[in-house]
Symmetry: none
Subunit: 133 residues, 4 copies
């Protein structure tokens, strides 16, 4: 399976950490491979314990649906066409910002998930990580 | 318990796949038996990994409540009489379109669940599958 | 992610089914992709409901540890060096025969898992499936 | 709760990785904090997907019972006084070598868990990591 390497995952995490430090919001940052399996994770000092799983699941969700998790937000709201999606998969989908696929030459090679801040902060840090890939 | 055979499940899946190909939306397609247990599943090339479980759970839900999953949508919204249903069963109920019972002579013999597209696409493909039974 | 296609997965399942019919033991047969995610599953008429999950988990385990599940059997017995492995992963590892990686040009592209028979029967049917890849 | 920092966790992982490279066995390496919650994880290229969870659970187990996981092995065998322990906690205890508490001035500040190799290799790499703390 062609997928992200640990060296690449570390570069992604490093770029995300740098952005998290810059905005002064310590984060849980996870990278999964193309199959959705964890490749690397860090919990920055001060980040939430509750965000360990959220960060990993954000990255998983980005693989599972081949898109940024923020794109799932509108349609999963009450009134949306897939309201209830987050309940429908055993509790490991995240339907708000912070998960982004890592793409090379049009192919998804992995994903990053970030959690602890506001969703805007999570997204900003995930984007910083993703742009290092 | 009289229930769907593998040959019948395959015919259902085949009809669903044909429709999915026609609308150019690769799908996860699952068929469960009258007891709600998986009989057959395929993930068409390009369909979502995240939809494996959703498709199986849509089929399960159609058995569990003896109805199409789309009929659960309104009453599970906030303000609805069974809001919270999707949380109430360990994370394996789906309350939006794409799950349909397979009925013969008034008896539910199995169900089909389809996921990856919009809910309209999922429903259309599930109906194509169901009508082959 | 380069991985097994649905057409290939079906050829693997078809060969396994043929062998299962030949030995008169209906089986649950699952194929997962290189990332361990379900690609296709069938429960032959008469196969165990309890073997749905076992067949899927056998295939997952073959991906997870890059080997046939039968190779995990000795060392996970009481007295073995990794006794307790099957408990250590949330309940989705199988440490007895019936799960085999699907390999092409030295790379694991997926895996097959078979369950319902004796472990010798499961292994025989899994081998028949794997040799069709 | 005073606990391991990310910088310290990385030093532990780095020392473990160096040893894993030296013995030519890529590993999953996890570090948890004093509360048993994941602090950092890496899956070296070539390490097992199945060992992601095992490595994290080894580190958790070392915190959970304030000892190296290898010390749980004898008494959890059939005939042992706590046979069944590995089943008794929802599937996240590991009762074989590779998990070691990280201790400073007599206090457990975190733990390392290593998996993919033989238990001897896992233990050797975990010890290399622990001795960097």
């Amino acid at each position: 399976m062609e997928s992200i390497t640990l060296e690449e995952a570390r570069a992604v995490i490093s770029a995300a950490e740098k952005k998290a430090a810059e905005i002064e919001c310590p984060m849980d940052i996870a990278v999964v491979d193309a199959g959705g399996n964890l490749k690397a994770h860090v919990r920055m000092d001060g980040a939430f314990v509750g965000s360990i799983t959220i960060s990993i699941n954000k990255a998983y969700t980005a693989i599972a649906f081949k898109q940024e998790t923020r794109h799932l937000q509108e349609e999963t709201r009450p009134g949306g066409s897939i309201f209830g999606l987050s309940d429908a998969h055993g509790g490991n989908l995240v339907v708000f910002p912070g998960g982004i696929p890592l793409v090379r030459e049009g192919r998804i090679m992995g994903a990053i998930g970030v959690s602890t801040g506001t969703v805007e902060q999570d997204q900003e840090v995930a984007e910083a990580g993703a742009s290092a890939y």
